[in-house]
Amino acid sequence: MSVTGGSAVIKESVGGNGHAVASPGNVVIDCKLEQVYYGEFLAVRDSHVPIEKGKITGFIGPSGCGKSTVLRSLNRMNDLIRGFRFQGHVHFHGQDVYARHIDPVVLRRYIGMVFQQPNPFQMSIFDNVAFGLRLNRFRGKMGDRVEQALTRAALWDEVKDKLKNNGLSLSGGQQQRLCIARAIATEPSVLLMDEPCSALDPIATRRVEELMLQLKQNYTIAIVTHNMQQAMRVADTTAFFSVEMSKGGRTGYLVEMGPTQQVFENPQEKLTKDYISGQFS
């Protein structure tokens, strides 16, 4: 099943670790990607990442190791990329989300996503947050929900007097919190975050991290980060990916996954140990 040889040992421990950590009833998204292709290029192989309810799962690893690809497979955002296909399955609450009769549009209503670059819509702050509510034809009191979302995103105090201003007029960190507010306004059960702090300064980063720890009470979060310390700070479970050269380019794969403390203090794989100690990045 694997494209290159010599990884049989790793595959075993992935299986072992993956299943040892999560109790089946607690898994919200069971993501098993055996092979992921963009056209002819194999982007990711042999990655089984169960996402547990109420926890923050962090994906770490060197650049190009497929962390974003795996994350985006969870809400079928990869469908938008030409030539995407994969072998394996993604189960959301037991449902195969890539089944023929499942509409990705519907899926994405239940899973929220925050992107690497803040991307508020070109409309007022209020309209940005209310976007999801209006999309889902929310009939209740819009203002209350917007306020609630902005409060949860730790942005309310800063913008409560200027809700009519354009979303793009905020600073980078504020824009990203706005995007988070937008994503959580409809209360999706799962929140996917693709390097949400990479475009932010350290202070804004810290605020977003504090936010994530608070959001954990209500949402299941999966976050991709290139910053190991961030994973140590916020993630309950950590999945470490690495990348190898293959014909056609670089292929990513899951090396090890487990409780954050264990992965960082007592990694099972040498590769993990090397990465954590800074031997490569």
Binding site: F92, H93, Q95, H101, G132, F138, T186
Partner: protein, 321 residues
């Protein structure tokens, strides 16, 4: 779709899109696709419509239509050779003049001759030239250009009349005034496309030329222009295509006489002007013939424009190399 319903947690607002949303999505996508197909259908329909109406004319007059020079409604003799000749000759003259000035303008605007403020002035001038309607150019041509060049033209005739291109007097409208105005009309097209072509020359090429100690014009003539050559050639072809299709200014200035002459000062005719002038009063027989002429014009302009488009695509591909 509804199988995911139970995945919601309490308090969640999210729900599947309503049936209306799905229907509207399908419908809108279908309409957009239909609109796109409509564009193609329109082109095909135009070709078919003109071809269909031209068929009787083609049947009756055949290929001789293209080579005959008479246009006699009463006796039913029709020929568009003078019109074809006039179309090509006037467009060629316009291309020589308008193309030259257009390229010079493009060089002038892109090769750092002007401070930004002045550049805006000249660029706006060129854009304004493009905005003036054809019929206004015609009016201006009649009352300003013709009187202005008539004295000079007639003196050329007097002294150099033995040269064919100066072979006749300029009594009023004629090939030269029409071509001059036409040149002014296609200058913006050539200038705009040439500017794009010159801007696409990579900076490092310009750097290399200057680095070797070339003067400004040596860099332009020996390096910039050759590199942008394909794009500039495309600009000329597109300008030529524009000139071929131009109607009103020519109808008002060309003289509408079915003469075949090399002289710049003689009145002539173009296919577009022929159509413009004869259509409104044409009886059914003449309409068929005019449709045939329209088909010929369509064929010529299509060919030139498609060639121009192909050259521009080639130019774009060269730059990416």
């Amino acid at each position: 779709m509804s199988v995911l319903e139970h995945a919601r947690h309490p308090g969640a607002v999210a729900g599947a899109p309503s049936t209306w949303d799905f229907f509207a999505d399908r419908a809108f996508r279908g309409i957009a696709k239909a609109a796109a197909a409509l564009i193609l259908a329109l082109l095909a329909f135009i070709l078919w419509q003109i071809g269909r109406k031209a068929a009787p004319g083609i049947r009756d007059y055949g290929f001789g239509f293209l080579t005959s020079t008479s246009w006699d409604v009463g006796r039913g003799h029709f020929g568009i050779l003078p019109a074809i000749w006039g179309t090509l000759y006037s467009s060629f003259l316009a291309l020589v003049m308008g193309g030259f000035f257009g390229i010079v303008m493009a060089i002038f605007l892109t090769q750092d001759f002007l401070p930004p403020r002045l550049a805006v002035v000249f660029r706006t001038t060129v854009e304004l030239l493009a905005a003036i309607p054809s019929v206004v150019y015609g009016l201006w041509g009649i009352f300003v250009v013709v009187p202005a060049i008539r004295p000079m033209a007639n003196s050329f005739y007097e002294h150099l009349g033995w040269i064919p291109i100066f072979g006749t007097t300029l009594s009023g409208p004629g090939l030269l005034p029409a071509s001059l105005v036409l040149a002014i009309m296609i200058l913006p097209t050539v200038a705009a496309v040439s500017q794009d072509a010159l801007r696409q020359v990579p900076y490092r090429v310009k750097e290399a030329a200057y680095g070797m100690g070339a003067t400004r014009w040596e860099a332009i003539l020996k390096v910039m222009l050759p590199t942008a050559a394909t794009g500039i050639f495309g600009a000329l072809v597109l300008g030529f295509g524009r000139a071929l299709g131009e109607t009103m200014a020519l109808a008002m200035l060309i003289g509408n006489s079915n003469q075949l002459s090399l002289s710049l000062f003689s009145p002539a005719n173009t296919l577009a002007a022929l159509l413009a002038l004869n259509f409104p009063e044409a009886g059914p027989r003449e309409v068929q013939v005019l449709m045939y002429a329209a088909l010929v014009l369509l064929g010529i302009t299509l060919l030139v424009n498609i060639a121009g488009g192909a050259i521009m695509t080639l130019a774009a591909r060269n730059v990416r190399r």
